[in-house]
Symmetry: C2
Subunit: 221 residues, 2 copies
DNA sequence: GCGGCAACCTATCGGCCGATAGGCTGGGTG
DNA sequence: CACCCAGCCTATCGGCCGATAGGTTGCCGC
């Protein structure tokens, strides 16, 4: 019995990525579609086009695949968010820029990461280090909101509630994006505008906020 | 070997609910905390205080527990949302009322339903009937948004994007609620205000919208 | 007081899961 | 050329899963 059917090897055939990268890609795809626990290593292997035990030459365990994906995502998002939060700019501008950048990051990611941030995955004790980093990111966002309220830029809100709502929106926005979406204005700007507009004490300032956010220069650039 | 340790029988001991109800309660709790597939029937049984096979006297399969929870939730939410959407009121008032009612419904639910609407559960073919009803609910909400934009009440937005964002917020708001939250203004009103304010062409109208939404009388009441 | 049945129990099944053991192979290097 | 080892394979393991079979108990109606 040799090489039964070629799986979804379309992409894989055109661009011969390293096997390790294809495992991450297919695994993230399956985790997003049917959840981490419902995805078997045999399904991942079949999608990649190898046998199930061959997976373990690239990742010691199934969990290690998740860890690699978390590293890729949070390793980029957390430092970038902290950099944005520390800029000497109005809170509205910083929040807009964070939202925009995070959404672009998720849009352009080679992996569909929306399956990782469910409680069934990131809530497990084994992944506590990444849960902490995610919580830290949420606190940074909540801090921006709190500063905005204190400065009178934003209305009075529960900053923690807002940061949770933002997290919920980001995960869901991905669903829409991966499901194909009319181009028009970018998803990132549309979502960022909606959220910041809902918070601004003076919504008329939205255009200026968006403009300033677009011009922001981050330290690392 | 008889009745080893009593599980979290605190609630169960104080209020001797029917076993079937306690199964739904504990199962929903576990699904929310660690996902459907990661939750075993043995865990549910232990939480309820019975042996694992005894579960199957109340539900034929593990899936049947999920179906009962979906029925309870969507069976209430969908008709109510349609009723609100059909009222001869401005779109902003109807959207506010929908958000408020849905959040109150989730807040007061005896079950934590946030684990059911992950793709790993509702995305399975077996649960397609409930996925259709959920999509229908989203379309009703998107319809309200679209009417609001057409009437000039709301700014120009992608109504589908907004309905997805709302879905994301609702699931996340539950996380916060079940994690304990300062009372103050109700969660339902706070979230509804944020969302509607972000959409209103004239945010100053928010107070009036909230007032009218509170006074709305639904057909079934 | 006795049949019946709902609710629970113990014991156990087949099946799938993640992971391991160990063999084959082919390109790269001394 | 001999060697090595990365990368894949087949075969298989122990363990846990959802579900079934069948016995025991105790309450309720007659």
């Amino acid at each position: 019995m040799v090489a039964r059917r070629l799986p979804r090897a379309l992409v894989a055939a055109c661009v011969p990525l390293a096997t390790r990268e294809r495992i991450l890609f297919e695994a993230a795809h399956l985790f997003a579609a049917q959840g981490f626990h419902a995805t078997t290593t045999r399904q991942i292997a079949e999608a990649v086009g190898i046998r199930q035990p061959s997976l373990f030459h690239h990742f010691a365990t199934k969990d290690a695949i998740v860890e690699a994906l978390f590293d890729w995502d949070l390793g980029l998002a957390l430092p970038r968010t902290r950099a944005v939060a520390a800029l000497p700019e109005p809170a509205a501008v910083r929040l807009y820029r964070y939202l925009h950048d995070d959404l672009r990051h998720l849009e352009e990611a080679p992996y569909n990461l929306s399956g990782l941030y469910a409680d069934e995955v990131i809530g497990r004790p084994e992944f506590a280090p990444w849960a902490e980093r995610r919580d830290l990111l949420h606190r940074v966002v909540a801090g921006i909101v709190r500063e905005g309220t204190a400065a009178g830029e934003f209305i009075e809100v529960d900053a923690t509630l807002v940061s949770q709502a933002i997290a919920g929106i980001l995960v869901r926005a991905l669903t829409l994006h991966s499901g194909g979406r009319a181009p028009g204005r970018g998803l990132a700007d549309e979502v960022a505008r909606l959220v910041v507009r809902g918070l601004l004490a003076d919504p008329a300032a939205l255009e200026e906020v968006q403009g300033r956010a677009a011009l922001l220069r981050l330290p690392g650039e």
